[in-house]
């Protein structure tokens, strides 16, 4: 029997679960937990400057490691500040355990100081959530939170712990074992055989990979499947890197900002094998007109995704790795010469156009220059906007977990704290965050945390002094009525970074921007690299929202 407080119990359980870094911000209702954490010699705390930053740092750690990571916030405003990061984790299926302090049990529901119903608020944005009512419950709830976050399709779990539960003394006879993921769903061999037969009989099949391939660690298997069956392979925003972009079978990213030829190839497919993706509207455009000639095989670990947007001819509820391992021996080795040469001809007629890619003073050129200065071990994150889509189009991703972006929620402010999380989890890597001036200002306070932690994070700020993607949409779809998308002031980001204690470089003033860039990227430690970008550069091609993928404009 060991006597401890609820807070000490939480810390012990987190230590046993393998948690080594927690990002957060303290406040009254979570002070018992912080007091207990101060006694841990195993877990390091990173003090963020805004709880959303802490949430994204935890996400960054989880995105590189694939394991659930933890953030802390106090009750009330602390907890509400976490909401965006939690919702973001939900939409991108990221395992996250958010622990919040709550007012004491007896005061819940009385509008006590800094009381919000964070449990109620996070019902629709978590995979599951808990309001803990006794220290005893923690023995079940904490392992359950990790188990749920990492099982099947990963996702965020919130645990709300009232202050008196944190302080409550309990006797613990034995600590529960660390949580493990639940058993995977059993594979339906009959359906799998049908899928294999459809692949073997198809003439113009396409493989469509999503984030589930990354979560399941199945990138190599997916590439093998593509090679074995001669399947041109497209990836969602979340799956970029699962097949190296220079692989001969890669047809790049599909959807709203995919290359013309990619969407045309899909148009002609007679079979689409969708693996760990969910027919998101940004990827498939008008769903009814997506792959009009194709039969669909859909493999997903989340049963509720099957038949949700598109009815599948064969729907397999399975973990992607399990399904692909069983599928591969049944798929004939085929060289589909005619189909592949047709794909090649579409590719040469309607290629992805990256104007200016050789000039580091243009958006595509800057992205290429960054990539040229780094190897595939570097991690790339982005914020949200034009710069995000340009990076998705132009950066040569070659491995899973090389790139992290806010896909489902599209959260400006994601990039820098997520990059910091990635650098905390894997300090040997260089982590580059491509950001826009709008997005950077959403979590710019984390520069203070970055300076303090000295992480190897490089921020490449593509500054067009506007909310570029909004400006683009107003120009294209709102009769050029540009409103509330151009900034009137122009903050000096170099001085801002320096003010926070971060080295900064302005590429605009460099005579040899390529060399300056390479040097900055290869010097350890944080750095902000500023580059002006022409506001009139738009992301092309573009499928207008609500249109079919073949109705692209530009590019």
């Amino acid at each position: 029997m060991e006597k401890m407080t609820g807070a000490q119990l939480i810390v012990r359980l987190l230590e046993r679960q393998g948690v080594r870094t927690i990002a957060g911000i303290p406040g009254g209702a979570i002070l018992p937990l912080y007091d207990a954490l101060s006694g841990s010699t195993i877990i390091r705390h990173v003090l963020a400057r805004h709880e959303q930053g802490a949430g994204f740092m935890a996400q960054g750690m989880a995105r590189v490691s694939g394991r659930p990571e933890v953030c802390f916030a106090s009750s009330g405003p602390g907890a509400t500040n976490l909401v965006t990061a939690i919702a973001d984790a939900r939409l991108d299926s990221i395992p996250l355990v958010a622990i919040t302090g709550q007012v004491p049990l007896s005061m819940i529901g009385t509008d006590a100081f800094q009381e919000v119903d964070i449990y109620g608020m996070t019902v629709p944005i978590t995979k599951h959530n808990f309001l803990v009512r006794s220290a005893q419950e923690l023995l079940e709830v904490i392992p359950a939170a990790f188990r749920i976050a990492m099982s099947g399709r990963p996702g965020p779990v919130l645990v709300d712990v009232p202050k008196d539960v944190q302080s409550q003394l309990i006797e613990v006879a034995e600590l529960p074992p660390p949580a493990e993921p639940e058993a995977l769903p059993p594979l339906d061999q009959g359906l799998l055989a049908q899928a294999a037969q459809m692949i073997n009989e198809a003439e113009q099949p396409v493989l469509y990979l999503g984030g589930g391939v990354v979560h399941s660690g199945a990138a190599a298997l997916a590439v093998t499947l593509a090679e074995q069956a001669s399947m041109p392979t497209t990836m969602t925003l979340m799956a970029l890197g699962t097949m190296p972009m220079d692989h001969p079978l890669s047809i790049g990213m599909l959807g709203m900002h995919g290359a013309r030829y990619t969407n045309f190839v899909l148009e002609e497919a007679d079979l689409v094998v969708c693996v760990g993706a969910r027919f998101d509207d940004r990827a498939v455009g008008k769903a009814a007109q997506f792959c009009p000639k194709a039969k669909i095989v859909h493999i997903d670990v989340d049963r509720s995704e099957l038949h949700k947007v598109k009815n599948a001819h064969v729907a397999i509820h399975a973990d992607v790795t399990v399904a692909l391992e069983a599928l591969l021996p049944q798929v004939k080795v085929t060289l589909r010469k005619r189909w592949l040469s047709h794909v090649d001809s579409l590719k040469s007629r309607f290629p992805l156009q990256l104007p200016g890619q050789d000039d580091p003073r243009t958006h595509y050129g800057l992205i290429h220059a960054v990539a040229a200065a780094l190897d595939d071990e570097a991690v790339v994150t982005t914020d949200v906007g034009q710069h995000q889509m340009w990076v998705a189009q132009a950066y040569p991703f070659r491995r899973a977990r090389q790139w992290f972006t806010s896909g489902g929620l599209g959260t400006m402010g994601f990039g820098m704290p997520a990059a910091m999380g990635a650098a905390m989890a894997e300090p040997d890597r260089t982590v580059v965050c491509f950001s826009g001036d709008g997005s950077l200002m959403m979590n710019i306070q984390e520069l203070a945390t970055l300076a303090e932690e000295g992480l190897n994070v490089k921020i490449v700020l593509m500054n067009n002094n506007s909310l570029g993607l909004v400006y683009q949409q107003q120009n294209l779809f709102y009769g050029k009525r540009v409103f509330a998308s151009k900034y009137r002031g122009a903050p000096d980001f170099v001085r801002i970074a320096e003010g926070f204690g971060i080295k900064a470089l302005d590429l605009d003033g460099e005579s040899d921007p390529r060399a300056a860039l390479a040097q900055a990227l290869n010097t350890p430690g944080p750095c902000l690299i500023h580059a002006s970008i022409d506001r009139e550069q738009f992301v092309y091609p573009m499928v207008p929202p609500g249109a079919a993928n073949t109705e692209m404009i530009g590019g």
């Binding site: 449990y119 629709p124 995979k127 599951h128 309001l131 509720s304 038949h307 609500g546």
Partner: protein, 104 residues
């Protein structure tokens, strides 16, 4: 990043269906379930919930309109941690018919 909001499907003219849910019995379970139906613009026409067995579990009866999303909706409900089982029944199930008397 223009938002596309799906129009709620018209629910009139569809048959009703009764769903029987086996759930864990603790505060919050109901809000998880109701939230899900509300999000997808499913009007819950009738709802009934009582503890079963030793009180660790509850049975919830829901009366909803059958539409083409119901199958997928049920899968989403099944995905909830606290939902142990979902069984659909025809609209004629007596559970709500017997309750009619209390609503006149």
């Amino acid at each position: 990043m223009i938002e596309q909001v799906a129009d709620p499907l018209p629910q009139q003219g569809y048959a009703k269906v009764v769903l029987e849910l086996e759930v864990n019995n603790h505060p919050g379970v109901m809000s998880h379930i109701c939230n899900l139906f509300a999000r997808r613009a499913f009007n819950v026409e009738g709802i009934l919930c009582m503890p079963v067995a030793d009180g660790r579990r509850s049975r919830i009866w829901l009366l909803v309109f059958e539409d083409q999303r119901l199958e997928q909706m049920m899968r989403q409900v099944e995905k909830l941690e606290d939902v142990l089982a979902v069984r659909p029944h025809g609209a004629g199930h007596e559970v709500f018919e017997r309750l009619e008397d209390f609503f006149h």
